[in-house]
């Protein structure tokens, strides 16, 4: 799964938690979830749970800590997807 594919899917994951739909359409790796998208910091937990369900992955404390901007969210999701694929082999 490419970074662009994940980025486009993340827009749908973020949608319920931000009112800035215009910015949501133009997010990039540097978009900060709290500062730019104005997501309530407690709702980051809901975003993590939604992402886990969407990709069937498990995001632990350390990985969750890194999910500050869009780029780091994509990094964590790709890393967890890769780990999962290794386990299945």
């Amino acid at each position: 799964m490419t970074r662009t594919e994940i980025l486009n899917e993340l827009k749908k994951v973020f949608a319920p938690y931000t009112t800035n739909k215009e910015l949501l359409n133009s997010i990039n790796d540097d978009t900060d979830l709290i500062r730019d998208l104005k997501i309530n910091s407690a709702n980051l937990v809901d975003i993590i749970i939604d992402a886990e369900n969407k990709y069937n992955i498990e995001i632990d404390f350390d990985a969750a800590d890194k999910m500050i901007n869009v780029g780091s969210c994509i990094d964590v999701i790709r890393e967890k997807l890769n780990q999962k694929n290794v386990e299945y082999r």
Binding site: N40, S41, A42, N43, L44, V45, D46, I48, I49, F61, A64
Partner: protein
């Protein structure tokens, strides 16, 4: 036994809305509170016609449904490293409540809360408040976090 958790609640007198915890485990909590006839808000809400404000109903649901269960869970979670004698400070992060009945001074209410999840220190619960005839007064989703604060300024 369940009521030992009440010693961790940071509320005092006029803003403490928990009398008793009748059920408490990792997934749910049930507690009771009787509205005091002389509570500070009845004098002005409304003048000559005291009715319990919706924000107070919401606060009762949050204190029993979210804070009591939250305190219980954080004290059990080794990763959060909370100690029995820490000052624990609950913060409400979101609510979505619907109201069905009014509550008058002196009425006893029961709060029943079921955990939706507790992750990364955030607790989300579905909470109902019933009156003494077991009729639904209010229901909603509540979320919050508990922070550890150091009282000493150093």
């Amino acid at each position: 036994m369940n009521n030992h958790i009440l010693s961790h609640l940071p509320y005092k007198s006029s803003f403490r809305f928990v009398d008793n915890i009748s059920l408490l485990n990792e997934d749910e909590v049930r507690g009771e509170y009787t509205l005091r006839n002389d509570a500070f808000f009845y004098e002005d809400h409304f003048v000559g016609n005291p009715v319990t404000p919706g924000v107070i109903i919401t606060e009762i649901m949050a204190q029993i449904g979210l804070v009591v269960l939250g305190m219980f869970l954080v004290l059990k979670e080794p990763r959060l490293n909370f100690m029995e004698n820490d000052s624990l400070f609950p913060l409400l992060t979101s609510t979505d409540v619907s109201f069905y009945k009014i509550v008058l001074p002196g009425q006893k209410v029961t709060v029943i809360s079921k955990k939706q999840y507790f992750r990364f220190g955030k607790l989300k619960c579905y909470v109902e408040l019933l009156d003494s005839s077991k009729e639904l007064v209010a229901k909603g989703m509540f979320s919050g976090v508990i922070k550890k604060i150091n009282i000493k300024n150093d």
